[in-house]
């Protein structure tokens, strides 16, 4: 039985604490999160792009750039809500010290998810700027992708937090990566169109959140037209809400025993 989360504005103190740490280690952290996808974009875009040519109207590099913007949100937010949050929960006693102050588990979970979403958004925004500088972004509608990416980061982080709440060690996250994130990434239309897969794979992929993020972000970045944005938003929102409800309940059970 899930008791609804009742977070307070104190969750912002959790968010701010993580921001404070991030500012201290900005350079290495930015290199890992931001540098790597940009390298992929450059190398694959130009290396592969020649081989692949255009996809419909779209040069492959532009296709890939809009995909990588989405996958970088996915990975940054998931990593933060798994490895970093787990470290704070289990190794560093950060959550325990928050619980000794007037913070509740609900504040901590929401604050962590918000932070992971923020980090995902910062990261994908940086990649978006690089893509724009490379001439891969069509017009100002790209700015509309930012709230979508923020919501997507929240959804990914909330789902990752469910895994974190169960995890006994870092090894546990590998299951989620191998069985969850990687298949979603490969079938999500990030690197190549989903239509390459058999019908049933495409349909199964649509049960997961990433393809819906891609369906929204790619047209906004490349000047295409949106198809059924309401449905895509609803799926992402559904994952966000379900992830937050379930992870809050699980972390409560874990921390308050």
């Amino acid at each position: 039985m899930i008791v609804l989360p009742r977070p307070s504005l104190r969750c912002l103190a959790v968010w701010q604490r993580n921001l404070r740490v991030w500012r201290k280690i900005l350079l290495p952290s930015a290199l890992g999160n931001f540098g790597e996808p940009v390298l992929y974009l450059l190398a694959f875009g130009y290396g592969f792009g020649e081989l692949v040519g255009d996809l419909g109207q779209l040069p492959y590099v532009a296709f890939l750039a809009s995909g990588i913007v989405c996958s970088s949100t996915l990975f940054t937010a998931s990593f933060e809500a798994m490895y970093s949050a787990f470290t704070r929960m289990a190794n560093q006693q950060t959550w325990n010290s928050m619980l000794n102050a007037p913070l509740m588990v609900d504040d901590i979970v929401l604050g962590e998810v918000l932070w992971a979403a923020t980090k995902g958004l910062l990261n994908s925004s940086a990649i978006l700027i690089v893509a724009a500088a490379m001439g891969l972004v069509a017009d100002w509608r790209a700015l509309l992708a930012l709230p979508v990416l923020g919501l997507a980061g929240f959804a990914f982080a909330a789902c990752a937090m469910v895994v974190t709440a169960y995890a006994r060690s870092f090894d546990f996250f590998l299951y989620f990566f191998t069985l969850g994130l990687t298949p979603m990434l490969l079938t999500g239309g990030v690197f190549f169109p989903r239509e390459q897969f058999p019908e049933w794979v495409q349909q199964a992929a649509f049960l997961l959140p990433l393809p819906h993020v891609v369906e929204l972000v790619r047209p906004l970045l490349t000047g295409g037209s949106l198809h059924g944005p309401g449905l895509h938003l609803a799926v992402i929102l559904g994952y966000a809400v379900a992830g937050l409800l379930i992870s809050t309940a699980l972390v409560r059970r874990r921390m308050l025993c």
């Binding site: 560093q92 010290s97 000794n100 007037p102 509740m104 308050l256």
Partner: protein, 313 residues
């Protein structure tokens, strides 16, 4: 008289009735009643595994009790734990300082958990750094602090919100004597300033020196509750003679246990003789050439008598 009456009239800061907690079918806190008054230093004395930490976690609303009623600072717990924790400072048993931050950043960040920020914060932090004797170490990383410094910083951190109640779980375990005395001195200052303290310990010396009242806790049960002096007076003969150099396998010297008014207790290879009138006993021991230690009774003796086993394992 006047003062005493007003203290008695003030509602207690902690009222617990019949607190219970089980883990995996094992009752680790069983029917615990507590009443802690404003301005006192209240102790939970018991060996490892007695249920001290579990009891404190219940007071803070971090462990839901599965039996009993609990009010802390007038708030029902765990329902309104947030409200209570606004006015509580916590020194946990295990270090939870934030390793990503310096000394000052730790205090600033912890303050933000209470919603404390702005111009009032810097002077408060300076005050706490002085209190914890950490001036000049503002920018030191946590990893570079000694065990004693970490404990002092943890205590300073617990005071950031000027709490009415400070809860300390084994505040000096693992510290060297000097660091321990420093903490004791600071805790007495806090108590003298009107802050209520609840601490757990398995050091009888700590309990005797600091606590105005204490409970003796063993296997989740409260065995006794009173001032240290009253507990000793109520349970133990005032003189204790420890025999030195006897081995556990030996039978107790029969002529000693036969002495009137002498109670003999064996704990492992320790032989303890308790009496109100030690003169005859000491004469016999001297005559027999037995080495011994003659000392006043303490809380350790109370514990031994009430539980049959020693406080420290």
């Amino acid at each position: 008289m006047q003062v005493e009456r007003s203290i008695a009239a003030a509602p207690p800061l902690v009222v617990a009735r019949g607190l219970g907690k089980s883990y995996g079918g094992q009752r680790v806190v069983d029917g615990v009643d507590l009443m802690v008054h404003e301005g006192e230093c209240f102790g939970l004395l018991g060996p490892n595994g007695a249920g001290k930490t579990t009891t404190l976690r219940m007071l803070l609303g971090l462990t839901p009790p599965d039996a009993g009623e609990l009010r802390v600072l007038g708030e029902p717990i765990p329902a309104r734990a947030r409200r209570a924790r606004e006015q509580i400072g916590v020194v946990p048993q295990f270090d939870s300082l934030d390793p990503d931050f310096t000394v000052r950043e730790n205090l600033v960040t912890y303050a933000s958990y209470f919603g404390l920020r702005g111009p009032g914060l810097a002077p408060r932090i300076a005050e706490l750094l002085a209190f914890a004797n950490l001036e000049g170490r503002e920018d030191t990383a946590i990893a570079a602090l000694s065990g004693g410094m970490k404990r002092r910083l943890t205590l300073a951190r617990a005071l950031i919100n000027r709490p009415r109640l400070v809860v300390l779980d084994e505040p000096t375990t693992g510290l060297d004597p000097q660091a321990r005395h420093y903490i004791w001195q600071r805790l007495r200052e806090l108590r003298d300033g009107g802050t209520t303290l609840i601490l757990t310990t398995h050091y009888m010396e700590e309990a005797e020196r600091l606590c105005d009242r204490l409970v003796i806790l063993d296997a989740g049960h409260i065995l006794a509750c009173d001032t240290p002096r009253a507990l000793i007076n109520a349970h133990i003969e005032p003189h204790v003679v420890e025999l030195i150099g006897t081995t556990g396998g030996d039978a107790p010297p029969p002529e000693l246990s036969a002495l009137p008014g002498v109670r003999l207790h064996r704990a492992g290879d320790l032989v303890l003789l308790y009496t109100a009138a030690p003169r005859l006993l000491l004469e016999r021991l001297d005559a027999a050439g037995q080495r011994y230690l003659h000392r006043p009774a303490n809380l350790e003796d109370v514990f031994l008598k009430l539980t049959g086993h020693e406080l420290r394992d």
